[in-house]
Symmetry: C2
Subunit: 210 residues, 2 copies
DNA sequence: ACGAGTCTGTAACTTGAGTTACATACTTAA
DNA sequence: TTAAGTATGTAACTCAAGTTACAGACTCGT
């Protein structure tokens, strides 16, 4: 356990803080697809990612989704932190993108540790910074890019996160995360295939040279 | 000075912190249209808004803008804070929406105060929370709403910020902040006028019952 | 009073993307 | 093996929004 923690946060946190995390945090292993946070949830603890990846989603009035970004090893969910502080409901949904290991830290420690540990303070600020930056990147992509560019970006990012040139998703699933329709995605994927950038198969596709 | 500060932050911060802010911060009065922060700037200090309002903008590759949100009395720019911490360049542009008074706090104090003052810590977290939330709201609007809804939202927000049912902007200026073209805005505004929701004039428009 | 510059209104066209409909192919369970 | 369910391919259509073009009205400086 302590080794797992150190492999992700060992260089980041001082020894005393690592010990506290081990003592107070609770390890949790969740399978792919597991819903960590639902919109409207009141949160009592903040997750630190040890391994795996988590996708963070936003929902519109009709209940359709939009992928905001992924969390990886060494990340934490700033939205959750932010919700905890304000005692407000979650604005987002978080789902394990693969089998994932996390440590849950109870809220009250989050603020306490900011007074005690410089490294924790930096971590918290750094997390907010990263999340603001990621949100901004997502917003750029939605506001300024056309769907073909967004799709390419999505495929690259998904491949990077999963360490796999094969994307194991149906066109419908991709369409859902990009908040568009299946037909549009099929159309654009077919164009990418014709350009030799990907190859299409049932239930998966392979990135050739995006 | 201390009175101005107290009127905005008096209930928020303890006396000792208020004194520090007065001692260390520098008051700055800027006119409408004044550019406080430019994309790519390295930031050495963080602004606290005393009065007025500041609009925060994002730029695309072509140099066109998109309004992200407004900062008001009692707000601070979390992006700036975030940039300061990470010693990175500004991702956004900030322009005074009206004549505005701010206090500039040097970076090094930002973190120092988080260890010393509980109220400051809360303020910083609260700011991040608010900014994340605002960004999310902007993203919702861009991802999920059509231009007519975005326009209505823009007009309402602008009216609220300026405490004025009259919007003193040309169609071109509105188009620019919504990242669309003047013709589209003229078209939609005309429809709103035909529905009796606004009245149009040269260089300004009036909100009747949006 | 005149011309240059600015602002608004509108028509006509183009295009990206969402929708509907249907055909074909693969998968799985009875 | 056969039917039902699921995934993909494609055509045809609609619509919001961006583009181009131009006219008319207002403003301001000389």
């Amino acid at each position: 356990m302590i080794n797992l923690l150190k492999s992700s946060y060992g260089t980041l946190f001082e020894e005393a803080l690592l010990q506290e995390i081990i003592q107070i945090g609770t390890f949790k292993e969740v399978p792919i697809g597991y819903k960590l946070i639902e919109i409207g949830d009141y949160i009592k603890s903040v997750p630190l990612l040890i391994s795996g990846a988590v996708k963070v989603l936003r929902e519109d009035k009709e209940g359709d989704e939009l992928l905001l970004y992924y969390l990886e090893q060494g990340d934490t969910c700033s939205f959750t932190m932010s919700c905890c502080m304000g005692q407000t409901k979650s604005e987002i949904r978080a789902i394990a993108e693969m089998d994932t290991t996390i440590i849950m830290i109870p809220i009250r420690k989050i603020e306490e540790w900011t007074t005690l540990y410089k490294s924790w303070r930096h971590f918290v600020f750094e997390s907010y910074h990263n999340r603001l930056y990621e949100l901004l990147t997502t917003l750029d992509s939605i506001a300024f890019d056309q769907m073909d560019q967004r799709l390419i970006h999505y495929l690259k990012e998904k491949s990077r996160i999963n360490h796999d040139a094969i994307i194991h998703n149906t066109h419908q699933e991709i369409a859902y995360e990009l908040h568009t329709s299946r037909v549009v995605i099929s159309r654009l994927l077919k164009k990418l295939e014709q350009k030799g950038k990907i190859s299409l198969h049932r239930n998966y596709l392979e990135i050739v040279n995006l």
